[in-house]
């Protein structure tokens, strides 16, 4: 068992890569690349399920850890591991892989091999981001995750792929320049890229405080663009409207939010608290701004983009409230948002496959024609707007109640307005697309309702939303453990160095 526990994370990284290789060498016949990719992603998902099954609650620190030096100088190690924070995110990434493959089943007609090779490399990069505990390794996967995404946007862009791809790439690549300098600076001062050791160094106060402030800001900036946090969301709407569905559903949110939690708050708890008031303000503005813009969009991809800005801002609010419940709710909401957004993208992608347009006003009266689609869409919408007993409610409730009690009442009241607006734009979307008289397009073009392939995927997702809403306690213990302050870290340090004055706490929430 130990052997499996040690190598499980490496396997999770390698299986998609092996699948990519297999797709690359296999002949491009009929749906063969699709099947290989589907099989690979299902196997990977199965592997990720091993993690929660064998995760030991109450055991502190990282589990399934594997640490092996990779490059001697500078000392970069292949160091991976998960804790409560990343555990379920890895599973979520695993779950969204088959969803992505199935969403691309018919949508991708040309160059399937290239598509699935890049898609699977993207999977590896995402897993890598979630499990890396060495800053350089993490940075490697972080950058790597941009490449397949950008190339696929360029390849399959609906109108102007290269432009959107370039925008996406530059928006996320340029902020990672200061991030790399910050990481290098930390290395120059401490001679390590190891997360736990760095955490200890930063907490020890041995580094110059002013410089650490800038380093923390560089981290924050790089991650905030990726989330995206309010004034930095410029890339999102173009990316959503150009990217293939399978990639659009993973591009925003979890990578950036996880990085904020792990590497901004985790490494620089003191500095993060200093900027928290600004981030709370930006988050509340983002909630309202995203919701208001979502209300007036005519294109459903763009509507989803601004809805995402609004929802992700809510999660940022939960994270930077620095309350225990808020952080727990934030992580839960990342999971819920991942599932719900995935389903929503899948459904809209199905509509786009059938009618080849994303303009909302040319749809209408679909419910009579595609009853299954309508049912599932309404269900997903309800989960998204946070109806009780569905998954969206739990996170929203935890975040808003903790902010109300622990941070600021007035901000909470304003943020809650965003939730109401969220219900408005989503329900209005449902009404315009599915109800009312049949539009010309819908009447003119014959279309099948959801196929078995689509139903077989969407119903489990719908059930999952329900289970997450009814029994969040399945997820919360591990998450709480990830958020809870950690006992002192056992870090070996050279006896010759100055001993630290204070003992680090993994985020003093």
């Amino acid at each position: 068992m130990d052997a499996i526990n040690n190598s499980i994370l490496t396997l999770i990284l390698l299986v998609p890569l092996a699948g990519a290789l297999l797709v690359a060498v296999a002949p491009d016949r009929a749906k063969l690349p699709n099947w290989i990719a589907l099989l690979t992603s299902l196997v990977t998902f199965g592997l990720t399920l091993h993690l929660p099954a064998h995760f030991v609650l109450g055991q502190n620190g990282f589990q399934f850890e594997f640490n092996k030096p990779w490059i001697e100088s500078p000392a970069i190690a292949y160091h991976v591991g998960v804790d409560g924070l990343s555990l379920w995110l890895v599973v979520l990434a695993g779950l969204l892989a088959p969803v992505g493959v199935l969403a691309s089943w018919n949508a991708i007609q040309t160059r399937r091999k290239v598509f699935f090779v890049l898609f699977l490399i993207q999977q590896t990069a995402m897993f890598g981001v979630f499990i890396s505990l060495d800053l350089m390794l993490y940075y490697g996967f972080w950058e790597l995750s941009l490449v397949p995404m950008a190339i696929l946007i360029a390849m399959y862009g609906r109108k102007n792929g290269p432009k959107a791809a370039l925008k996406f790439f530059l928006f996320t690549f340029i902020p990672s320049a200061p991030l790399l300098v910050a990481i290098l600076w930390l290395y120059a001062k401490t001679n390590t890229f190891d997360f736990a050791t760095l955490q200890y160094w930063v907490a020890s106060g041995a580094l110059p405080a002013g410089a650490v402030c800038w380093v923390a800001l560089a981290f924050l900036f790089a991650f905030a663009v990726k989330v995206p946090v309010f004034p930095l969301h410029g890339w999102l709407s173009d990316t959503y409207s150009e990217a293939p569905v399978a990639l659009a559903m993973v591009v925003a949110g979890k990578l950036g939010l996880y990085s904020l939690l792990r590497f901004h708050i985790g490494l620089f708890p003191v500095q993060a608290r200093e900027v928290a008031p600004y981030l709370i303000a930006l988050a509340v503005v983002g909630i309202l701004y995203g919701a208001c813009l979502a209300l007036v969009q005519r294109d459903f991809w763009k509507l989803l983009a601004f809805a995402a800005v609004s929802h992700l801002s809510l999660i940022v609010l939960g994270i930077y409230g620095f309350t225990f419940i808020g952080s727990t709710g934030a992580i839960f909401q990342i999971l819920s948002h991942g599932v719900v957004d995935g389903a929503l993208f899948f459904l809209l992608g199905a509509l786009y496959d059938r009618y080849a347009t994303s303009q909302i006003n040319v749809y209408g009266g679909l419910a009579a024609k595609l009853p299954n689609t309508a049912t599932l869409f309404v269900l997903t919408t309800l989960a998204m707007i946070g109806l009780p007993i569905l998954s969206g409610f739990v996170g929203e409730f935890l975040i808003l109640s903790s902010t109300f009690g622990g941070v600021s009442r007035s901000w909470t009241i304003v943020a809650s307005l965003g939730v109401i607006l969220g219900a408005a734009y989503m329900l209005w979307l449902v009404q315009r697309v599915f109800y009312g008289p049949q539009s010309e397009l819908v009447a003119a073009r014959p279309a099948d309702d959801l196929h078995f392939r689509e139903l077989a995927l969407l119903w489990p997702l719908a059930v999952l939303m329900l289970v997450m809403g009814v029994a969040p306690s399945l997820w919360l213990p591990a998450i709480e453990q990830g958020v809870r302050p950690r006992p002192p870290l056992n870090v070996q340090y050279d006896p010759g160095l100055t001993s630290p004055t204070s003992v680090p706490q993994g985020g003093q929430r």
Binding site: I71, P74, K113, F141, V147, A150, A154, G161, I174, L184
Partner: protein, 511 residues
């Protein structure tokens, strides 16, 4: 005194020279009209032998030969292997892409090999006059190669520009050598290094060093000595540019490292700010100009200027870390740049039917493998992790950060963001769906022969190896750096050793 026969010290050069002569003789004795493709094969075999010979030199003790003019050390071996590798790839590339009816095919291969002799000798020379001669050997070969497409107007233009400006720069170098000789009375680099702190006429030495730096910086096309680059790259045939943009630069950087780290370590306070400025200028000028280019080769020319800037950032590093980072960067840069020009050669052909970025539209859809390789090299040039370009930048900038030049590292990394814009514009256009109903002349059938395939595979493999397991190469670069750092110090010279130690404090002071 020296147990190693002198000839072993220059064994790779000897092999290359013999190969070049053999190619010329065979070429002359073959009847006109007889296919001369096999001559390229001779060149490739000779270069491979030279590569093995360089590797074999590892077993030689470090030392000099021919009265202290040529050195073999880990440093020279590193660069010999690098240059021979580049030349091998360009020869393989020329084998398949040079048109069969070209009148001067034999000369083409011979010139490449002779150029390689000069470049190899340049990295091993520890005597300034030999440096000059080696530089001329390599330059004359490349001047001719640059003008190889004489039927076009741009070919001769490129050659003449390169020749005139290159001679001008060589004159600077020579003048610098003369001044240094005047101040120290010797042209042997180790002797100069020993005498520099004792020389009475320090201003003369400084002037000499400055002029030498100008001459060498011209060769590496660092701003503000870069103006020749885009025109030459545009006019010269792509397989030649694959060579031009890498091997002579590698050799020139080796000389630069020797000059600043071995000859004038005591003048660090003078050359370090100069390098800082040249580095920042090269990156910024190169990238800003590249952003506006539509012609792919011009764009890559400006990008190579920017890369010279990233590389010079390593010179802010202290001692061995800077030298090792620079050496590593040269290797990584050479691998990906040779690779990308190889792809361009295959895709657009010797006559370059495709010249602007828009012509590459849909390459990935038409020829997935070639398109994929093109995008791979572009990504490596951007500096994405798990490719050689990343670790090159990484080591270069961490050397800069370690040396205290944080601002330079930030400028460099922001510049690589800027650079991503134009590299990826090409990559994304290549990934885009081909335009429908476009006239047929943009549709082409790239032929990948065995030799070109091998060249591409070799460059891809090296770029990947440098990106995933860089330790070995870095180790080689570091041992090279150590040999460069050890001029035979004379402990009895007052103050000199202490001064050197002060110039290189312990890396990364522990907080």
């Amino acid at each position: 005194m020296n147990p190693v026969p002198d000839i072993f010290r220059i064994l790779p050069e000897v092999i290359l020279t013999l190969t070049g002569v053999a190619i010329m003789l065979i070429d002359a004795s073959l009847p006109p009209g007889f296919p001369r493709r096999a001559l390229g094969g001779v060149g490739a075999i000779g270069t491979t032998l030279a590569l093995w010979a360089s590797l074999w030199q590892v077993s030689l003790p470090q030392g000099t030969g021919f009265y202290g003019t040529v050195e073999t050390s880990a440093f020279t071996i590193f660069f010999h292997v690098l240059i021979c590798g580049i030349v091998l790839v360009t020869l393989l590339l020329a084998l398949d892409t040079l048109p069969e009816d070209s009148h001067h095919q034999g000369e083409y291969y011979a010139l490449i090999v002779f150029g390689a002799v000069g470049m190899c000798l340049l990295t091993g020379a520890v005597e300034l006059l030999l440096v000059f001669i080696a530089l001329e050997i390599s330059s004359i070969a490349t001047y001719v190669l640059a003008g190889y497409r004489k039927q076009t107007a741009r070919g001769p233009e490129a050659a003449i520009k390169y020749f005139l400006l290159g001679s001008f720069a060589t004159a600077f170098l020579l003048y610098g050598i003369a001044l240094v000789f005047g101040a120290t009375g010797t042209t042997q680099i180790y002797e100069i290094a020993r005498l520099v702190p004792l020389a009475l006429n320090q201003p003369m030495l400084l002037a000499g060093m400055t002029l030498m730096l100008v001459g060498v910086l011209f060769k590496v096309s660092a701003a503000p000595f870069h103006v020749w680059t885009p025109d030459v790259y545009e006019g010269a045939p792509s397989p030649v540019v694959a060579l031009l943009s890498t091997a002579p630069k590698a050799a020139a950087f080796a000389v630069l490292l020797r000059v600043v780290y071995e000859m004038f370590p005591g003048f660090r306070s003078t050359w370090s700010p100069a390098m800082w400025i040249v580095a920042a200028l090269s990156m910024t000028v190169g990238n800003l100009a590249a952003l506006r280019q539509q012609n792919v080769k011009r764009m890559l020319a400006y990008s190579s200027i920017a890369h010279a800037g990233y590389l010079l950032a390593a010179f802010a590093g202290l001692g061995t870390s800077g030298i090792a980072a620079a050496s590593f960067y040269i290797a990584a840069y050479a691998a990906m740049n040779v690779g990308i020009f190889a792809v361009l050669t295959v895709v657009s052909g010797y006559d370059e039917e495709l010249s602007v970025i828009e012509d590459y539209r849909g390459l990935l859809h038409r020829a997935p493998l070639l398109g994929g390789v093109l995008i791979f090299f572009l990504i490596s040039l951007v500096g994405i992790p798990f490719t050689g370009g990343f670790f090159g930048k990484f080591y270069s900038f961490s050397a800069a950060v370690n040396g205290g030049a944080v601002a330079l590292a930030i400028i460099g990394l922001l510049n690589s963001g800027l650079a991503a814009a134009y590299y990826l514009r090409l990559a994304f256009v290549a990934a885009q769906r081909p335009a429908e109903g476009k006239d047929e002349h943009t549709v082409f059938e790239p032929q990948v022969g065995f030799a070109v395939g091998a060249a591409l595979l070799f460059s891809v493999a090296v770029t990947l190896v440098l990106g995933i397991v860089p330790s070995e190469v870095l180790h080689a670069a570091e041992s090279g750096a150590h040999t460069l750092q050890a001029p035979p110090a004379e402990p009895n010279v007052h103050g000199m050793v202490i001064e050197q130690m002060q110039a290189e404090p312990e890396q990364s002071p522990k907080p």
